[in-house]
């Protein structure tokens, strides 16, 4: 068992193509660009990107996985973690600022709310990508990240992950009774470690 580590990140570079994709738009929408730019300007300084994570050894018996902090049955996760006996468990958030902006505009300008929704989705995915990329340089090749609610992995696993990583205290991430996260632009995931390379500092 190893310690839970908390890290803060500067916001990753903006992926405009992804933002448009999340908005359900694609191609050339010239009248949207100034609106999106305005939203990005309003958002700057309001992002607080944080990740907490730990490394765990796992034991597999068919579709039953002992993740080291909880046992869970999931064919999809078992398949995802083929050839892995260790995982990284992480929780990431871009902070509550974007939720404030979505709330500010949701009733007054659904267009802006939609744009912030899309920016938030892009931001949290970019943060996860960046974190996983960094972990690859430390741990070698990783499997694609896998979150509660994917395939047959129960969403209820969120409760165990939150307790184990102590997300509220470490990165200000909370879970409500419906298993929704707040800040909403957040991700918890399991990432299989493929290689045996261990370059831990």
């Amino acid at each position: 068992m190893s310690a839970v580590i908390t890290k803060a990140y500067a916001p990753p570079d903006i992926g405009m193509g992804e933002i448009l994709r999340y908005m359900g738009a694609s191609g050339d929408l010239p009248q949207l660009v100034p609106v999106i730019d305005g939203c990005l300007a309003e958002l700057s300084e309001r992002l607080a990107c944080k990740v907490c994570y730990t490394e765990l050894s796992i034991i597999k018996e068919g579709d039953i996985l002992d993740l080291g902090f909880v046992k869970v049955t999931s064919r999809a996760l078992a398949k995802n973690l083929e050839n892995c006996d260790r995982i990284l468990l992480f929780a990431a958030t871009v902070g509550i600022g974007i939720d404030r902006l979505i709330a500010r505009w949701s009733d007054i300008s659904p267009t802006k709310a939609l744009i912030y929704q899309a920016i938030g989705a892009e931001r949290i995915e970019a943060l996860c990508d960046r974190f996983c990329h960094e972990m690859e340089s430390e741990y070698g090749a990783l499997r694609p990240r896998f979150s509660p609610g994917y395939g047959d992995l129960p969403l209820e696993l969120q409760r165990d992950i939150f307790a184990y990583l102590d997300c509220p205290k470490r990165i200000g991430l909370t879970l409500n009774e419906s298993l929704l996260m707040s800040p909403t632009k957040s991700v918890t995931a399991i990432v299989g470690i493929l290689s045996d390379r261990r370059t831990k500092k």
Binding site: S2, G24, G95, S109, A113, F162, K169, E177, S178, L180
Partner: protein, 797 residues
């Protein structure tokens, strides 16, 4: 001895970290440490004793997460009893000779409060109250609320402590690297709120080491009039061989803390990563330092969930537009429970540059208590500005103050005994800056001297409640100059006398002065200038008035309050734009033809659509504009969306443009005759807090003339049924984003079938599809907003 007496002339020492020490003793991640009070009492007592031996005066119980969300009531009772006994036992066993106290430790619930999360404020208060009552029952000496990273949750905890005990309360918040709480509050904002509510000591813990926390602590020392506490981490955590270690040594830690004790910190300890060694080193380094006197700061301020607004530097603008007096459209919005309209007024005034928003929603035929509470909650979810709660109903005032996330401005008290007897106790309990009108049982004194005398009596009475003059701002009342030629002059004199003789700040509702006169703006502007020159600290005013903004900006530039005239120059730019734009506007007005509005809506040009509509209203029937221009434009975009040649953002921009055109039409019509189709009840179901999809549906339905009743998000089935029955609505729309909230949707449909069998139910949201909709008994699954509109048109017939 009581801790509040002891700390008057001593530096007080707190304990250090608990979690890291317990993990070293075998506590597993995810395991609840509070249970160890019972199962591993010996280990817990040893940790406590280590701190008393190191010189701590106050040791916290091991109850950080001991609350009724995590534990059933019997277990919670047993844990808190054992936890307090453990500290008491350690105090007795310790060889330390210092004064010793047991603090009931209270940490955050781990849940986010509404509106950002789903935990209701009063539920949070009740959760903390359970813990507080048990702490009192088992004999804690004080309450320590700590590591709070949300100002609203901090308020809930402090309120619970104050309402359920007489114990001293210390409150400590966790700040990030940016010097703010996770939810955005600055140190000045927290000081304002916590002092206002009567915390006995306030400060900072966790997150960072003492050096990194120093700037935050210095802000506390600058603003606080109560003792400041500090419990930093032992620096930042690093992982070495799979173990967490911290990068600041006990000696460095003690040196850094000592530096801050010299600056005025009166209560010192440690948080994550600190051990008895750190506390012992801190005691050694600081016990020779004479405690710095705690001074009254006499800062007049209010705060929001992000920042404090301080009176006395540049004059403060208080936006007056959230007030139904004399506003037909606003009254209508209030009666229709149209909170969106109020929010829009708030955001628009914020964008005009006001510092505070006045909130008045009083109308004879509405429930002001619930409306004011809702307006305050919703406004603070969308704006950063502090609010001025403006009501004459004490029940409404308390409801709003209770849920206000910060230190509010309270509008108002006056010199009548009855007024002071009601308002002062509320201000004392919840904190706040009170606007005091200089009138009493005999009315408004004519002379400035008379108003000054009333002001003195108000101060004298406030003193009895322990409310100091920094928390009172006088409104010497602007009376109409058309009724009394000396009215304005006396008011200006009163401003000066209150400032110079009482040392108090003043605020005025400026525009009353011009009542009954033509071109009121002209008089208002000059009067505003006179009062500013006379020392006025704040004005309740209309930020859309060019005259008022002109006076304000030029006054700042002329009074040495605008460096390099930057603010003025930026303002002047906007003035130039308006003048330059006017002729161009005229030109387009002449050529405005029928296709232009249609074009503006299709292209999503919000301002332009409103402008053209305004121009057309002079010569065209409102309904003709809707039928011939707006609806065809919406249809064109809607068909494009259905054929996938138009994307969602474009559809929305068009809908917003149409809405702004409708707004213009609505405000021109005698009454709210805009909705001509049937009632449509809309809600995001219980447990779900996503409402963007629902709001998109609402916007489109409104555009197509439906009478939409939006119940909001996280709506209980009973509330949906109640509204549907009350309105006899033929259609109900339900939205859910999460699989976990679909059962709530099913339950809502079930209850509707029983109590409102006539109603058709249309459902939508990310997790739904046609089969799922069938399964839960809905009439219709709509894949997007357009489909909902099409279905509603069929039902409407």
């Amino acid at each position: 001895m009581k801790i509040t007496d002891y700390m008057k002339d001593h530096t007080v020492y707190l304990d250090g970290g608990m979690g890291t020490l317990l993990q070293a003793q075998g506590l597993m991640p995810g395991e609840l440490p509070e249970r160890w009070n019972i199962t591993h009492a010996d280990i817990i007592r040893n940790v406590h004793r280590g701190y008393f031996d190191a010189g701590s005066n106050i040791v916290n119980t091991n109850t950080f997460g001991a609350n009724s969300l995590k534990f059933a009531s019997d277990e919670l009772d047993a844990i808190i009893k054992a936890a307090i006994e453990n500290v008491r036992a350690a105090a007795e066993e310790s060889s330390g000779m210092q004064e010793k106290f047991v603090a009931l430790d209270i940490g955050p619930t781990g849940r986010m409060l509404a509106p950002l999360g789903d935990l209701d404020f009063e539920d949070a208060v009740a959760i903390f109250a359970n813990t507080v009552k048990l702490g009192v029952k088992y004999g804690a000496d004080l309450i320590m609320i700590e590591t709070m990273n949300d100002s609203f949750e901090t308020k809930a905890a402090l309120l619970a402590a104050k309402e359920n005990s007489e114990l001293p309360v210390f409150v400590s918040n966790a700040y990030g690297e940016d010097g703010k709480l996770m939810t955005g509050a600055s140190p000045a904002a927290m000081v304002a709120m916590l002092e206002g509510m009567g915390a006995d000591a306030i400060g900072v813990n966790c997150s960072l080491g003492p050096k990194a926390l120093a700037p935050v602590v210095e802000e506390y020392l600058k603003y606080a009039s109560v003792p400041v506490l500090l419990e930093p981490n032992a620096g930042l955590p690093k992982v070495v061989d799979g173990r967490t270690v911290f990068d600041v040594t006990p000696e460095e830690f003690a040196n850094d803390v000592a530096a801050l004790v010299k600056k005025g910190v009166r209560i010192a300890g440690g948080c994550c990563g600190t051990t008895p060694e750190y506390i012992a080193a801190t005691v050694r380094k600081t016990e020779g330092i004479k405690p710095v006197d705690i001074t009254k700061k006499d800062i007049t301020c209010v705060s929001s969930y992000t920042h404090a607004v301080i009176f006395g530097n540049e004059p403060i603008l208080i936006g007056e537009r959230i007030n139904p007096t004399g506003k037909k459209r606003f009254k209508e919005a209030l009666k229709a429970n149209d909170i969106g309209y109020i929010l829009k007024e708030g955001i628009a005034q914020e964008e005009k540059g006001v510092h505070i928003l006045d909130v008045n929603v009083g109308l004879p035929d509405i429930d002001e208590v619930s409306m004011l509470k809702t307006a305050v909650c919703e406004l603070q979810a969308v704006t950063d500005l502090p609010l001025q709660i403006d009501t004459s109903d004490p029940v409404a005032m308390e409801a709003a103050l209770r849920r206000y996330n910060g230190k509010a401005m309270i509008n108002s008290v006056n010199g009548k005994k009855e007024s002071m007897d009601t308002v002062f106790p509320l201000a004392k309990k919840y904190g706040g800056l009170i606007v005091a009108l200089t009138l009493d049982e005999d009315g408004i004194p004519e002379s400035a001297e008379g108003r000054l005398a009333v002001a003195r009596r108000i101060l004298y009475e406030a003193e009895k409640y322990g409310i100091s003059k920094k928390d009172i701002i006088f409104d010497p009342l602007a009376l109409t100059v058309s009724a009394d030629k000396n009215a304005a002059k006396e008011t200006v004199r009163a401003v000066g006398m209150i400032k110079n003789e009482l040392g108090c700040h003043t605020s005025l509702g400026v525009s009353n002065v011009s009542f009954g006169l033509p071109h009121r703006d002209l008089i208002n502007g000059t009067f505003f200038a006179m009062t500013l020159a006379g020392g006025l600290s704040a004005a309740i005013m209309n930020p859309y008035s060019a005259e008022m903004m002109k006076v304000y900006r030029t006054y700042l530039a002329l009074s040495g309050l605008d460096d390099n005239c930057e603010g003025y120059i930026a303002f002047a730019d906007t003035v130039a734009e308006v003048t330059a734009a006017a002729p161009a506007e005229k030109k387009t007005a002449d050529t405005a033809d029928t296709t232009e509005l249609r074009h503006a809506v299709i292209k999503g040009l919000r301002e332009r659509a409103a402008e053209i509509t305004g121009e057309m209203l002079g010569s065209t029937e409102p309904l003709a504009i809707v039928q011939n221009e707006i609806i065809p434009a919406l249809d064109e975009v809607g068909v494009g969306f259905e054929n996938k040649t138009v994307y969602l953002p474009q559809l929305l921009m068009s809908a917003e443009a149409a809405k702004s055109a409708f707004e213009v039409i609505k405000s021109s019509m005698a009454s709210g005759a805009a909705a001509d189709k049937c009632a449509f009840v809309l809600a995001t179901v219980k447990g779900d807090i996503h409402d963007i999809g629902k709001n998109i549906v609402k916007l489109l339905l409104e555009n197509y003339g439906f009478d939409v009743h939006d119940l909001g998000r996280d709506v209980a089935p009973e509330a949906v049924v109640e509204a549907t029955v009350r309105l006899h609505a033929p259609i109900v729309g339900l939205s859910a984003l999460m699989t976990t909230t679909v059962p709530a949707m099913e339950e809502t449909v079930k209850q509707l079938r029983i109590s409102a069998p006539w109603a058709k139910v249309v459902v939508g949201g990310a997790v739904l599809n046609a089969e799922y909709a069938d399964m839960i008994g809905a009439d219709k699954y709509a894949k997007d907003a357009m489909e909902t509109v099409r279905y509603a048109e069929v039902i409407n017939g």
